[in-house]
Symmetry: C2
């Protein structure tokens, strides 16, 4: 049973944050959707340094459905990327594969609608692979190296272990386990809850 | 890592089935929603003996949203019960608690709409506690007793362990691990996949 896990050992504890569906845009696509040279307006810092929630939202349209008010995260990136939960991908009728952020080759596209009109993107829709961020110091303390795959127990109202979660370790990372809304809802977890690194033989 | 688990041991393997949101109705509520003395029409047997999907569907209304075409499962029960995923409960604006089926005291209600008009129910909305069915023979073979709490590894496109899952063992049960759509989507699992009983020390 889970009671035998490494829970309660504070040095193995990782705060968790729930990632809602969101969009990263290239500057080229910002220009099309919001107007030439438009700059995203930052409204809230995110847990990872330099990343922010923008004031701007878009409508995402798939073959079977529409999602309105989808938040854009800044700053602009090299490639436009739409991150959905599996539940949302199904609602939209978009066969978004499980991918690491930035690995977009062969992924399906969608239609994005902004104030300056619709934009058809040919790729960029994914369900993001579960990942956990460690600052270099946290990685050293917890003996986790960049690229390690680890098992994390989420103790919400339920207890669920996410296996083989990719660790990203570096000086620009802040300790944080990212769950999407399906994962959080499956564990009935909420922001402010903790995950625990579980060692199994 | 998960590779060290009991996976691959066929005797510990349990088929999994995904439970969509659904409604169980009392005969009293069937009368109100479909007409006096109405009988549900069976269209498909479910995995558990005697249970079936009915032809009839209802609209469920909460404070924040509406879900249409929600399947009724038969036969009629003593109490009306609306089983939602956490994602759907949030969409509807219904604070459905995590409960075992049938334990409805103090749960929130909703409005159900059928062909004979709306019905306000004062309780009955839950997120069903994850559970796994064993026929008595399977329980003996796998050394699982009714009421045991066990850990089950779901190997979909991701690997997720659901901890403390309640085992229901009896002659009227058929071997089956029930996941709701949040749990299935979190593991990217589909009907026909398997779960594996995991032993941990």
């Amino acid at each position: 049973m889970c009671d035998g896990c490494a829970c309660g050992q504070k040095e193995r504890q990782v705060p968790l944050g729930i990632s809602n569906r969101h969009i990263h845009l290239s500057q080229e696509h910002i220009d099309v959707l919001f107007g030439e040279g438009y700059q995203l307006q930052e409204i809230k810092d995110l847990s990872q340094p330099g990343q922010y929630a923008a004031n701007e939202v878009l409508t995402v349209v798939g073959n079977k459905g529409v999602l309105q008010g989808i938040r854009i995260l800044g700053p602009a990136r090299k490639q436009t990327q739409v991150e959905l939960s599996q539940t949302e991908a199904r609602q939209l009728g978009i066969k978004a594969p499980l991918r690491e952020s930035g690995n977009l080759a062969g992924t399906p596209g969608c239609v994005l609608i902004g104030p300056k009109g619709p934009l058809v993107i040919n790729e960029g829709c994914i369900v993001a692979k579960t990942h956990v961020h460690f600052h270099t110091e946290d990685g050293l303390r917890m003996n986790i190296k960049d690229g390690d795959k680890i098992d994390l127990l989420v103790k919400g109202e339920k207890e669920v272990i996410f296996c083989g979660v990719i660790a990203r370790v570096g000086d620009t990372h802040k300790l944080d386990f990212h769950l999407d809304t399906d994962e959080a809802n499956a564990a009935m977890a909420k922001n402010g809850d903790f995950a625990y690194i579980v060692n199994r033989d």
